[in-house]
């Protein structure tokens, strides 16, 4: 009985604790929201300084691109995309071969605004401006419907993200990590939707209009703290976690129980 008790303490309590923790987690804090301040001369000068220091090596002095990095003059490049890349820490990267992934941004609000404004004004970017996402105007039901249609396949029904592949262009076995949407500020959501950064496709106004964008952002907001009416969400990854928990917590507890009930002596020589 003593051994059983020890096993119980060692396995079940941490499992229960982890389960309880997953149930009580708070939503991740927002990354700081984008700012819309128009730039004065000082801001533009700051932007130019930062651009020359951090960006021109890969993107070119004229933002026309180099062998190290793409241009900032075509496609969806504009304030929205620049702000998204800087705000989520995807840019700058130290090494041209480094993978682009979210992280902490080395810039503060003012510096980001300076860069965004400078690049747009100096290079006349074609892409969309920072969208004004209005959460209150977004319809939650419509947002859920649109999220399931456009977003769930990549970002998962619960917004936890996932993985897929990029096989072409000699990138054998290359994988793509699809990010978790927790911590994504509504404006960030709007920027990503409108500009399709990295592996993400573009959802322009012809496919998702502004009202629909508000709705999607509203639902993404909801996913930060969804109603887990059923109890501990165990990671929100679906049947895989459920099976594991069923075996360990369910069958595991019951096996401990029958070891208590029955005898343990097996075969003897």
């Amino acid at each position: 009985m003593k051994g059983t008790r020890t096993v119980l303490l060692v396995t079940l309590l941490p499992a229960l604790a982890a389960g309880a923790c997953s149930y009580f987690t708070k939503p991740e804090p927002y990354r700081p929201p984008a700012s819309y301040r128009p730039l004065d001369a000082e801001g533009l000068a700051l932007g130019q300084r930062l651009y020359q220091r951090d960006c021109s090596f890969c993107h070119g002095d004229d933002a026309g691109g180099t062998s190290n990095g793409p241009d900032l003059l075509t496609g969806e490049n504009g304030p929205a995309l620049t702000d998204f890349m800087l705000r989520t820490g995807r840019m700058p990267i130290d090494d041209p071969d480094e993978e682009v992934r979210p992280g902490d941004s080395p810039y503060d609000d003012e510096e980001i605004a300076a860069l965004v404004g400078y690049i747009d004004q100096a290079f006349d970017q074609p892409g969309p401006g920072i969208p004004a996402v209005d959460l209150a105007a977004g319809d939650l039901t419509e947002g859920r419907d649109l999220y399931q249609e456009h977003c769930a396949a990549c970002h998962a029904a619960t917004g936890i993200g996932g993985a897929m592949l990029a096989q072409r262009a000699g990138r054998e076995m290359a994988g793509i990590v699809i990010p978790d949407l927790a911590g994504a500020h509504p404006t960030e959501v709007g920027e990503a939707v409108r500009t399709g950064p990295d592996a993400m496709p573009v959802f322009g106004p012809g496919v998702v209009d502004d009202d629909q964008l508000n709705a999607i952002a509203r639902y993404v907001e909801y996913l930060r703290k969804p109603d887990d009416r059923g109890g501990a969400p165990i990671g929100r990854i679906g049947p895989v976690a459920e099976g594991a928990v069923g075996w360990v917590l369910g069958l595991g507890t019951l096996i401990l129980f029958i070891r208590w009930v029955g005898t343990k002596r097996g075969a003897q020589a």
């Binding site: 249609e149 396949a153 793509i176 012809g206 129980f257």
Partner: protein, 275 residues
Amino acid sequence: MNQGRVRILAAFGASMLASIGLTVVYAVGGDPQIEGALLGVALGGIAVGLVLFGHHMLPGGQFVEPRDIVPHATAERPGVEAAFEAGVEPIERRRLIAAAFAASVGLLGIAALFPIRSLGSRPGRTLFRTEWRRGRRAVTDAGRPLRVDDLDLNSVVTVFPEGHEDAADSQTLLIRLPDGVTVPGPSNWSVNGVVAFSKVCTHAGCPVGLYQAETQELFCPCHQSTFSVPEGAKPTFGPATRPLPQLPIGLDDDGFVIALSDYTEPVGPGFWNRP
């Protein structure tokens, strides 16, 4: 065994309290987590009480009883065989009658299988065709037709033939490729950089719902088949063996995207008589 008795009573007592708690919780509106916890105690208390009772208060010790290593009634087998033979022997003598009986039961059995056919429609050419026809507009599942300019570069949208927005086999991806990217195949099957491919995975039929915009690859979440659009949606990884069929598209007089014909091969997973 006083300590044992106390523990047993405590277990049953906890169970009783939990059951009362359950009725209260239910009456005030219910809460799944509290209900679950209380159910656990209510049932678990009885469980623990019973086992403690068995361990401490029921006659313990091991008993023994003999068992037949081999069932011992083999002596009766000749009797069984004789009894059975008594019924079979007359049948064996009357072979024609026996054969007629067997044939009537057999044929009835075969006839009884026929209603299985009523369970579904015949496959026929169903798997070889979708609802796409020449001139049918491509619409979103909300029924909205699309122009090329509705799509940005590197944009993907799922479309259906107009009037058939719930036709699972007809689901199609409209992809506006970035400048400079083309697909092999007939050039008149695409229009202004927009191409259309079937969304039904050729492996096991899941919608190929993920689009990798940097390399223009479609990725199926079910078994990770990857299709390279610039190579004609050819599978580049995963268990899929065939490319996604391409839908020939054009524009109608109002500039909306239309199909020029149905798919020229069956969409989706393979089957026995797929060419």
